[in-house]
């Protein structure tokens, strides 16, 4: 028997306890990863491929104030500007929903492919969008959520204008950072509202990154001391501004994550020291047999490390699977449910009524969860399109692993200390 097998045998001797310890560590690490990803999505939205060359121009007062349409030719004339499109929030409530559940923006169809070049669209979408005044292009996530197809007519009642508009879906786009929006023609909006003079914001495509600072400054200067002063900034800066509006929620999520880590350390450390305390007598025997203290430490540390490590793999792995391979997560959960169902049959055969009942309960619950996750298919589906990306980054995985490693060490401290202090005789006398 090698040392490694000795340690492993020890760790799984009490299978139930090992499983429970691993699962409680896993639940906590899963939560930790989720919170870290959530916080990252809040504070650092992912960068879009084409964003480096885009400038967003809004009214200096706030995003809520419109801009006069006459600004467009002035911006277009600035050197380094390649394309300009209005980008106006419509605030439409879809069908009979209660509030706007996804965004609609009015823009200049001719400029779509120039300003948002990274978007991929269904074939013929650009041409149809330019020729059909009431046409709209809709993001794939939203199209999937509401089962909207090209050719459908969709209707919105605006929250900010006193109009309802019907759009004909002429295309579906994907491959951008936010595949949830509905894009339509600014002219259609102007005609419907009878107001041709105002837009929400300008989105400007700049020729090269070197031109960015000069273009931003030129736009800001062009409208200084006019009745509609603007603020031009890179798309990234614009996004980060949004993020800063979340205010104290970020701090709160950090606070919760800290408490979760603390709880995790506490609970797991207690279970693990329980595991060691239980076989105090054995450790005393090993001591009597001539094992050195540091060898005993190594046993304890390896076992605690192993349990934490397993928990980490299960918890982090499940988080990754659920958030980036959602369908597979559903399938895996289905398999676990099937295992419980098999167990149910076995227990039924052995006339273990109570056990069978509990296994059946577990199987049913897991199967329902598996079905839900599989049906939703993605993080966007799981959150009703509230979150659209949910990246478990290597950095976050690394951090969670580090927490697990620290946990392994901390959990082994108390039992190690007990081993140091106890004499062999005392240990041999211990009953439980």
């Amino acid at each position: 028997m090698t040392l490694a097998t000795f340690i492993i045998k020890n760790a799984v001797r009490n299978k139930r306890r090992a499983a429970l310890s691993i699962l409680s560590v896993a639940a906590s690490l899963f939560l930790l990863v989720t919170l870290l990803v959530f916080q990252r999505e809040l504070t650092l939205p992912p960068e879009e491929a084409g964003a480096a060359l885009r400038v967003v121009v809004r009214n200096r007062v706030s995003l809520g104030q419109p801009l006069p349409a006459r600004q467009r030719p002035i911006i277009e004339k600035i050197t380094g500007v390649e394309a300009v499109t209005p980008f106006s929030w419509f605030g439409g409530v879809f069908k009979d929903e209660k509030f706007p559940s996804f965004a609609q923006f009015a823009l200049d169809p001719k400029m779509l492919r120039h300003v948002f070049g990274e978007a991929k669209v269904t074939p013929g979408a650009y041409e149809a969008f330019e020729s059909e005044r009431t046409g709209c292009i809709i993001g794939k996530l939203t199209a999937d959520k509401y089962k909207i197809k090209v050719g459908d007519i969709i209707k919105f009642t605006s929250d900010i204008y006193a109009v309802s508009l019907e759009f004909k879906v002429v295309g579906i786009y994907w491959g951008t950072i936010d595949d949830r929006n509905c894009l339509f023609n600014q002219k259609y909006l102007d005609e419907a509202t009878g107001n041709h003079g105002m837009v929400g914001t300008w989105w400007v495509k700049v020729r090269s990154t070197e031109d960015m600072p000069a273009v931003i400054q030129a736009i800001n200067n062009a409208f200084a001391n006019t009745s509609s002063e603007v603020r031009a900034e890179s798309e990234r800066a614009f996004q980060l501004n949004f993020v800063s509006m979340w205010g104290n929620i970020k701090t709160l999520v950090t606070l919760i994550s800290t408490v979760v880590v603390f709880t995790l350390v506490l609970v797991s450390a207690s279970t693990m020291s329980m595991a060691v305390r239980e076989r105090f007598r054995e450790l005393a025997i090993l001591k009597a047999l001539g094992f050195q203290r540091r060898e005993l430490f190594a046993f304890i540390l390896a076992e605690s490390f192993g349990l934490a490590g397993f928990g980490a793999v299960v918890g982090i792995g499940w988080a990754w699977l659920l958030y980036s391979q959602t369908r597979w997560a559903g399938i895996l959960l289905g398999a676990v449910a099937a295992a419980f169902a098999a167990n149910f049959l076995k227990l039924l055969f052995h006339r273990e009524w109570l056990g069978a009942f509990l296994a059946l309960l577990a199987a049913a619950g897991l199967a329902a969860a598996a079905k839900f996750i599989y049906a939703k298919g993605s993080i966007a589906g799981l959150t009703q399109n509230f979150m659209n990306t949910f990246d478990v980054t290597p950095r976050i995985i690394g951090f969670a692993l580090l927490v697990a490693a620290c946990l392994g060490v901390v959990a082994s401290l108390a039992p190690s200390w007990a081993v140091v202090r106890a004499s062999v005789v005392e240990g041999l006398k211990t009953l439980d």
């Binding site: 139930r16 306890r17 429970l20 310890s21 699962l23 409680s24 639940a27 906590s28 899963f30 939560l31 989720t34 959530f38 009214n59 200096r60 007062v61 706030s62 995003l63 809520g64 104030q65 605030g91 409530v93 209660k98 509030f99 009642t157 605006s158 929250d159 900010i160 006193a162 200084a224 001391n225 009745s227 509609s228 002063e229 603020r231 501004n241 800063s244 509006m245 979340w246 205010g247 104290n248 929620i249 709160l252 919760i256 408490v259 979760v260 603390f262 709880t263 995790l264 506490l266 609970v267 797991s268 450390a269 207690s270 279970t271 329980m274 239980e278 509990l358 509230f386 009953l431 439980d432």
Partner: protein, 387 residues
């Protein structure tokens, strides 16, 4: 016969080490749950504190919130002559046409910015909202480009001291006073004159009209009159009803709280199970003895479940107490309806506290169920012989 509860308490005390860690674990889970839900409750409370039952608010048909509604001056004039509107001693109708403008301003700390909601109010606006008090400085004088800001916002935004000037889009507005909204949504607002705000920010229309009515029948009559007038295309409702519907911001927080609670409680249940299994394992002979003394399996089962429930209830109580100091603590985030900085307080209501306790009780009962079944099923003879 049931085992005395004292037996469970003593057991918990004697195994104080694992009792304390399990209890702390449950306590932290409950504390997190209560705190997150306290945020949602606080947001809803701030909204509920805002409306006055005597007032009716009129918005454009189809608007979900005041900030996106528009009312033309012609519509306002029509509303002014509705007979059901209450009047003051001088016979002036108690009506305020408000305009809502968002302005983007720098925060005090760091370089970050956020939207602040500016409400332009008519002269009657203040009397319609008696819960708003001036706590420092004076009220604005129309025409002087003056503004009164919420004292709570003043703690968070730069240049909000009395006498300072706010610069927005090339315009300068002087802060002349601080208001206190009495923990209502008005704590997240700045007030100035409505018509001045309209000209300053190029707004042709008002956003909403707030009016006082003579009793509930008059309120009903007004909403019937306004809602059915096709030409007006407006909607009237009691102000309290309007604010009770402004709960969009609280929703995602509630979902987050529910998610946290579910996952953390699963972890806590596993941990509690572990503790109680160990506790059963260590007491095999004791359980055998109890059985010999005549206690039924049922009694043993119940006793262990009660022990688990006691353990986690104590944890839940501790967790609630841990969360309590944050009650009333002011915090802010973006309001999803107003799209501006929204100030609110953590609110730990008795109901929420009870919810936390119930939550810990569930964790305790589920966590102790399997170990208790195991204890109840121990064969007596083997248990007596156990080491």
């Amino acid at each position: 016969m049931a085992l005395p509860i004292k037996y469970n308490v003593r057991n918990l005390v004697i195994r104080w080490r694992s009792t304390i860690t399990t209890m702390l674990g449950v306590a932290l889970v409950v504390a997190v749950y209560v705190l997150v839900q306290a945020l949602a409750v606080g947001l809803e409370k701030a909204s509920q504190n805002t409306g006055d039952p005597r007032n009716t608010i009129i918005l454009r048909k189809g608007s979900t919130a005041e900030s996106v509604s528009q009312i033309t001056r012609a519509q306002y004039r029509e509303i002014l002559y509705l007979p059901q509107i209450a009047r003051d001693q001088n016979g002036n109708p108690l009506v305020s046409a408000d305009v809502i403008v968002l302005i983007n301003l720098p925060r005090k700390q760091g370089r970050s910015e956020a939207n602040v909601l500016v409400r332009g109010i008519s002269p009657m606006g203040r009397f319609l909202r008696p819960q708003v008090r001036l706590v420092a400085g004076r009220w604005f004088v129309p025409g002087n480009r003056e503004i009164v800001v919420s004292a709570k916002l003043a703690e968070r935004f730069a240049n909000f001291d009395i006498g300072s000037q706010i610069k927005t889009g090339g315009k300068l507005i002087t802060v002349v006073g601080w208001l206190d909204g009495g923990d209502s949504a008005y704590d997240s607002e700045c007030w100035m004159d409505a018509d001045e705000a309209r000209s300053l920010f190029d707004r042709e229309n008002y956003s909403s009209v707030l009016l006082r009515v003579n009793g509930p029948e008059a309120a009903l009559a007004i909403s019937n009159r306004v809602d059915t007038d096709k030409r007006l295309s407006l909607r009237a409702m009691p102000e309290t009803e309007y604010y009770s519907k402004q709960t969009m911001t609280a929703k995602p927080i509630k979902v987050l709280g529910g998610f946290l609670a579910t996952v953390m409680s699963i972890g806590a249940i596993f941990a509690a199970m572990n503790t109680l299994y160990a506790s059963v394992g260590a007491r095999v002979r004791e359980i055998g003895t109890l059985r010999v003394l005549g206690y039924r399996r049922r009694a043993i089962l119940m006793s262990f479940i009660i022990e688990g429930a006691l353990l986690s209830l104590a944890g839940g109580l501790l967790g609630g107490l841990l969360a309590l100091p944050l009650h009333g603590y002011t915090t802010a985030t973006i309001g999803l309806e107003t799209f501006s900085e929204t100030i609110f307080q953590f609110r730990i209501t008795p109901a929420l506290f009870a919810e936390g306790l119930l939550f810990s009780l569930i964790v305790g009962v589920i966590g102790s169920l399997l170990p208790a079944i195991r204890a109840a099923r121990l064969p007596v003879i083997a248990a007596l012989r156990a080491a």
